[in-house]
């Protein structure tokens, strides 16, 4: 018996900040022995075992007669902590060595290293968060830009859960009415007239569609946007790339491991992460000499959310390259650009945006056009409920399909028991999002995605 419970009786510890970066590292300890254990290696003005919840204490960590570091220790007492258990957070200087020693000293105090996601799992087990919220923790951890953090936070705050839950309530109401009617078949009660049923279903479909539409936005803020730069040699691809990186004044990092053939850079603009792939003028169709490069360029294009197709104002529209491009990607993902407009006043080249990578003219419009291509024309606020998780998106889509089915059934005069099948299925799909319908797969999925320390 105790074997299933043991795990939660354990006290666990792990580094909670990314390893090897930052000026400060935070080590998190949680479980019944956390305060006592840390106290035994802590030397400060206050004994931690007597400290109140939510207090911070300055002191030293001593281990094996050696001072490890000066630290700040935060004390949280059950149930008012992240995990719902007694816990401690130790902030140390961000040295790999200090962190290792500290954790080692804790492990000797009957504390074990946490498994990936274990802190969050405990929070979930202790009723500190629901499933959608636990899932959002993964997203918070993995978020690279401000907007994606906000999106994840808003899920953590339960906006999506609340919305989905209210839709589910509406559905349950309608389906129970229909089912109730089956029970009173003899007595000709009509609890919910059929046109009302359609009205209700439409209302729910409408709300689901609104949520579905936030997905491209949600996905964009979560995953970022892949942009491929395509054009003949010397149209100004590298110039544009450099200009954009400079303009955005954001993370500029060359990702190690990419060859010169396809350069990948990242920058963030209004909280959206853009990943730029410069195909460096490589042809997209097979060519013996450049085989490897061709391969990579094609990949960059295929995976792109937006393709910037550059043309030189002097040389005109590169028809042949465009043709090759169209075979790799849908046309609506391509932005046709004319570059070097500083050189000539007039042109009749077909294009969406005109720029000069040299003077910066038109770059703002280019940014706008890129954002629009990635997100779609609607404008969203991250402050409403946003769907940014594929699992949620699919569940919503399934729910919608079932509702459309149900509507068809009503229209074709099917009786209540048929309509109820699809309403129930829709309800179950919605329930999966917020954990009202739990299946093992969902749980496994969620807790497997964590890294240690969360």
């Amino acid at each position: 018996m105790t074997e299933y419970l043991q795990n939660n009786e354990d006290t666990i510890a792990a580094l909670a900040t990314p390893a090897g970066v930052g000026a400060i590292s935070v080590i998190r300890v949680s479980g019944p022995k956390s305060i006592e254990a840390v106290d035994s290696i802590f030397d400060g003005a206050v004994k931690l075992i007597r400290a109140n919840t939510h207090t911070i204490h300055y002191g030293r960590i001593n281990y094996a007669n050696e001072v490890i570091d000066d630290v700040l220790v935060s004390v949280f007492r059950a149930p008012n902590s992240y995990t719902g258990e007694d816990s401690i957070e130790i902030s140390t200087h961000g040295s790999q060595l200090i962190v290792e020693k500290l954790i080692k000293s804790l492990l000797e105090k009957d504390i074990r290293l946490a498994e990936p996601g274990e802190f969050t799992k405990r929070a979930f087990l202790n009723g500190r968060m629901d499933l959608a919220q636990a899932e959002a923790v993964v997203d918070v951890i993995n978020s690279r830009t401000e907007a994606s953090l906000r999106g994840a936070r808003n899920q953590l705050d339960g906006l999506l859960s609340a919305k989905v839950d209210s839709l589910r309530e509406m559905l349950i109401n309608s389906s129970s009415m229909l089912e109730l009617e089956l029970d009173f078949a003899e007595e000709d009660f009509e609890f919910l007239p059929k046109d009302k049923v359609i009205e209700k279903i439409d209302e729910i479909i409408f709300e689901i569609e609104k949520l579905l539409q936030t997905y491209s936005f949600g996905k964009v803020i979560r995953d970022g946007v892949n942009v491929a730069l395509v054009g003949k040699p010397n149209v100004g691809k590298s110039s544009l790339l450099n200009y954009m990186l400079k303009e955005s004044r954001a993370i500029v990092s060359e990702i190690p491991g990419t060859t010169r053939d396809v350069i990948r850079e990242e920058f963030s603009l209004d909280g959206i992460l853009f990943r730029l792939y410069d195909t460096a003028g490589i042809r997209l169709t097979e060519d013996a000499i450049e085989k490897e490069g061709v391969f990579r360029s094609r990949d960059a294009v295929k995976n792109a959310d937006v393709v910037l197709f550059l043309n030189d104002i002097i040389d005109g529209f590169a028809e042949d390259l465009y043709k090759e491009l169209k075979q790799l990607i849908k046309e609506d993902k391509i932005l046709k650009i004319v570059n070097k407009i500083d050189l000539l006043h007039n042109h009749n080249i077909e294009c969406d945006v005109e720029i000069s990578a040299k003077t910066g003219e038109g770059i703002e419009s280019l940014f706008k056009a890129m954002k629009q291509k990635a997100i779609g024309s609607e404008s969203y606020s991250e402050r409403g409920a946003v769907v940014s998780n594929l699992r949620h998106f699919n569940a919503l889509k399934k729910a919608k399909d079932h509702l459309v089915q149900a509507k068809d059934s009503v229209k074709s005069g099917m009786s209540g028991e048929f309509i109820a099948v699809d309403l129930r299925n829709a309800e179950s799909s919605l329930g999966e999002i917020i954990g009202k319908v739990t299946t093992e797969d969902i749980l496994n999925n969620i807790f497997a995605k964590f890294c240690i320390g969360k």
Partner: protein
């Protein structure tokens, strides 16, 4: 005296329990207070109806006897909900109340291995938490290996009309005293429930001229697959009559509300599902100006009319006054007022899905004692308890448990074990989430397997079903393949006023059109070329199955998808020794519930009322660790 199995009670539960166990080869003593009252219909003289008809078909497919008794004593047969889909078609019969009892007694006394004991059980005896015997009012002690208690409404029964109350188990019968107390001594918890019945009127004092007649179906269908169709119906068929209440009637009834014991109990937070008393209907559906009333003769030579839809326990004078205002009943003589009965039941978290009590090995509860109401509900439980008790006595290490996706009976018992019941539980279509698959027409396909395994369904019946199964599968496959060309079928389509086709379409697709039926389509095929079609046309039952499965294929498929999803949770088993009280992280209320019910799978746990989905997620995570 000794019997392998003692069954307490000769009601609907007791009959099925004794019959099934005896057929399985154990010696059965059925102890009942009045041996002329086997299967007496305490309330309405009818069997079946929405969802209840399904139970009867399932009982029949498992080898039970209720369907046959109803067929033999039936004086009107109807299929309800014909305007809806086949999943909710439900058979309902009116029985001659006296004959129902006679037929039930015939079956019991002609079944080998059953001994009838006319007596009242006043005590159950246990040793080491195992049942060993009983003591009776007449002073006999009978030993046994298992005991099934089917005491109906008799345990400390108290009948109410208005604020007047009389001791009794049913009109004209004594209550059973002593057994409850003996069970409580063993550690069981008991509670009180109430149920009501309408007044009875004198047959020839009703003005039928102004009432709408409701005859039975022109082509009556029996419940039982074993009933000889050539002789059916066995009795002359009668009609019922319809009338309804109105505002004046409601006003009169309302005057008595403060003196309604039934109503007082019901008004506190009881859901709308309960088969309501008239006073309850007036309150709950207050915007409905009328309520339907069915006047049902209690038998061929009975002079009583059962006032269906008018169940009440209001004071007698109020009942009389209200009835006189109902069209057709102006001069009706009330022979007996409606009354409510209050009795002991044992909250059903104390039983397992096998209906064995968790507390004492070998004691089973079935029927009204578990908090249900209705003959069919009682019979279904009796059958399950009888089979399980016999399995145990015979030393067969299996349990007979039906899943929610197997049968309405499975839903019924799963609900009983998991849900907290504070009003009598009755079977409803809405309770069975897998209802499209749980049809009357496929009860044999769903359940013969079990019935046959326990020796309650004969080899011949089983073989016939198996062969039919093959025919069904092959036909469905074939109809995906065979295509009609436009010129082969457009004539028929035109005559049925449905769209013509331009390209060849498979039979399966055309069958889905509401205007078309499979038989007509098959007539257009070349039977020499397809011998299978010929066999199918000759097998009415198989043809019906193929047609239903093709017509509603999409819905059935989607229902199955949902079942599969849910079934995964049924497969996550919880060890018997799991200590729910040790779960630190869930609310005390859920913990208590889980501890009481001791679910065996996550699926079952998830249906316990008061256990939240997050509790279930937590349980899942624990079980995984």
């Amino acid at each position: 005296m000794h019997f392998d199995l003692i069954v307490v009670g000769g009601g609907h539960a007791g009959i099925e329990a004794s019959h099934a166990a005896a057929k399985m080869g154990v010696s059965v003593g059925i102890v009942t207070m009045d041996k002329t009252a086997f299967g007496r219909m305490s309330c309405n003289p009818a069997i079946g109806g929405s969802a209840k008809g399904h139970l009867v078909h399932e009982i029949d497919a498992l080898g039970g006897v209720m369907g046959q008794i109803a067929d033999r004593s039936g004086i009107q047969f109807r299929v309800l909900n014909k305007s809806k889909g086949p999943a909710v078609w439900a058979g309902r019969s009116q029985s001659d109340k006296k004959l129902y009892s006679v037929e039930a007694a015939k079956i019991i006394s002609s079944t080998e291995n059953i001994t009838i004991v006319e007596d009242s059980v006043i005590e159950a005896i246990e040793e080491d938490r195992k049942i060993v015997g009983i003591r009776t009012l007449k002073g006999n002690e009978i030993s046994c290996k298992a005991l099934i208690v089917c005491s109906g409404t008799f345990l400390n029964g108290l009948m109410h009309t208005g604020l007047k109350s009389t001791r009794g188990g049913r009109f004209g019968e004594q209550p059973a005293v002593g057994l409850t107390e003996s069970l409580i001594k063993m550690g069981f918890e008991s509670g009180r429930l109430k149920t009501g019945t309408p007044p009875r009127l004198k047959l020839d004092t009703i003005n039928y001229d102004i009432l709408e007649e409701q005859p039975g179906d022109e082509n009556p269908q029996p419940f039982s697959r074993r009933t000889d169709k050539t002789k059916f119906p066995f009795l002359p068929q009668i009609s019922c009559w319809l009338t309804k209440t109105d505002g004046t009637v409601h006003q009169i009834l309302e005057k008595g509300f403060d003196r309604s014991p039934m109503f007082r109990g019901l008004i506190n937070g009881v859901g709308p599902r309960y088969c309501p008393s008239i006073e309850d209907k007036i309150v709950r559906f207050s915007d409905k100006p009328n309520h339907q009333i069915f006047l049902e003769p209690e038998g061929l030579d009975s002079d009583l009319i059962y006032v269906n839809g008018f169940s009440t326990s209001l004071p007698e004078e109020i009942q009389r006054e209200a009835i006189a205002k109902i069209p057709g009943l102006e001069n009706a003589e009330m022979v007996r007022p409606g009354y409510a009965i209050e009795y002991d039941y044992f909250p059903s978290y104390q039983i397992d899905l096998s209906l064995e009590t968790k507390l004492i090995k070998g004691i089973y509860f079935a029927g009204q004692i578990n908090g249900t109401s209705g003959y069919e509900e009682a019979a279904g439980q009796g059958l399950v308890a009888g089979i399980n008790a016999a399995l145990k006595i015979l030393g067969r290490k299996e349990e007979f448990v039906l899943k929610r996706s197997d049968a309405y009976i499975g839903v019924l018992i799963d609900d009983l074990v998991g849900k907290t019941i504070n009003e009598p539980y009755r079977m409803f279509t809405s309770l069975a989430e897998h209802r499209l698959l749980l049809r009357q027409d496929n009860a044999d396909r769903r359940l013969y397997e079990f019935g046959h395994r326990y020796g309650l369904i004969s080899d011949d019946e089983f073989k016939e079903m198996k062969e039919r199964e093959v025919l069904i599968t092959k036909s469905k496959d074939l109809f995906e393949e065979i295509k009609f060309k436009p010129d082969e079928i457009n004539n028929l389509l035109e005559s049925k006023a449905t769209n013509l086709i331009d390209n060849a379409e498979p039979v399966s697709k055309l069958t889905k059109r509401p205007e078309l039926n499979l038989r007509d389509l098959l007539q257009e095929l070349d039977h020499e070329k397809y011998p299978l079609v010929k066999s199918l046309l000759a097998n009415e039952k198989a043809l019906e199955q193929v047609e239903i499965e093709l017509k509603y294929e999409g819905y059935i498929q989607r229902q199955q998808d949902l079942i599969k999803k849910m079934e995964k949770l049924e497969e996550v088993k919880i060890p018997e020794s799991f200590n729910f009280l040790k779960l630190k992280t869930i609310s005390n209320e859920s913990k208590e519930k889980l501890h009481k019910v001791r679910p065996r799978s996550i699926g079952q746990a998830s249906r316990i009322s008061g256990v939240s989905p997050s509790d279930i997620s937590i349980l899942l995570v624990y079980l995984k660790n």
